[in-house]
Assembly symmetry: D2
Homo-oligomer: 136 residues x 4
């Protein structure tokens, strides 16, 4: 599943050099992930199972600067579902172009909300994540 | 009680005109309020009573611009404790000067954490807030 | 002109009591203002005149709590254009309802970007602001 | 050089599960980096050379959850200075313990502020970064 949101760069997204700062990019990436989950009703779904999607790592490459009033597309894909973790890739493009501003790889686990421990990804939880992954 | 914290202006606090944006000032004011509450152990205290300090209004005046690498002092005072609300004043100064960058007035209530309803400020809750107010 | 944006409440918008915190509301209000300005091409317009829209005060009332996964509508109206300042009102509603979560009044001035001083609102700058105000 | 700042976890740093969210951790890490640079007067130093410290990647591992009212220590070290890039490691600990909450690796370059292009790290710029690295 590839999905994207668009965000307009505002004055509070840029730093003293006029470039979008990494705090803003982190917000853009996070908002894009939540939007994808929501499009598949995944947050409610896991919440009813007492599970939370928990990020365990992200690796972000800042490829090019971007500036005030740029419009960005943030694309998100679920790439691989392992026994206990799930890999998600994201790219931020200048709207309507192939120009990559940022790319990122995130690893997620499913944690039990009562003890914060990671669980095996199986059964209906696995099926839900496969829905997200297979729709690309 | 007057109390203050200091904060250094970073690149992500300023906008395209080089001035600290109001989102950043909101963060500075909020951090200063929490620090004051904490200095009096007020958060834990109210939490044990199943009460939360809830802001119902703030009125913020931006008096002068401030810039990258400025150091700011954020001062906070509890001014008046009414039957059901509490008034708090805050000022942001350039460090070590009388130059006011921002002043703000906040109204708080105490809410019951189980139903989000405001309660009368009385008994030990009132005494705790008076501790904050009287120590100026 | 009344205009609105919608925002979905995420996990990072809420505090320990499950309510949207005031830092998040400040972000929502700010994003709504920029979107309105942009809809009228006002940012570019003033920038070419070496002018910036600068907030001098905001007064925010938090009327009701709102929670994770709520969708909010943030409405923005230019209300009155004085000789040297401009008043803007904003309301945050639960989507599709008349339930007011937050209302806010903001005062803006136009400042000269070279010296940060407020100028008289007249000529083409006044006409542009009147466009925003009259389209309601 | 190992250096650290301390930050107290507030209500706006945690998500619906009560854990510090990754947006907040990004803020903590960024503030710690700026503080280190500032301790060595590096921001001014590079600014006078028309250079900016620009992050090109960060890799963040979230090891353990942390919660409201926790106090965190964010440690930052410059590890290796290459021909054109510089590696910096950061760790977030629970205050006064060896419990690692987050670890992160960041790669920086020096960019020319006039064209956003990375330059070779040599001469006085290299010496300044070596000051940061060697003081551990």
């Amino acid at each position: 599943m590839s999905d994207y949101i668009t965000i307009r760069v505002r004055g509070y997204h840029i730093d003293q050099h006029g470039q979008v700062h990494d705090r803003a990019h982190t917000e853009f990436l996070e908002e894009a992930r939540w939007t994808l989950f929501e499009n598949f009703n995944a947050i409610d779904f896991f919440s009813k199972l007492d599970l939370a999607l928990t990020i365990v790592s992200n690796h972000i490459n800042y490829r090019r600067p971007c500036f005030l009033n740029d419009t960005l597309e943030i694309h998100t894909r679920v790439m691989r579902i392992g026994k206990a973790s799930c890999k998600m890739e994201q790219k931020i493009f200048l709207e309507g172009t192939d120009t990559v501003i940022v790319d990122a790889t995130n690893i997620f686990v499913l944690t039990d909300k009562r003890n914060y421990e990671a669980i095996q990804i199986e059964g209906s939880a696995r099926e839900k994540l496969e829905q997200l992954a297979s729709s690309s």
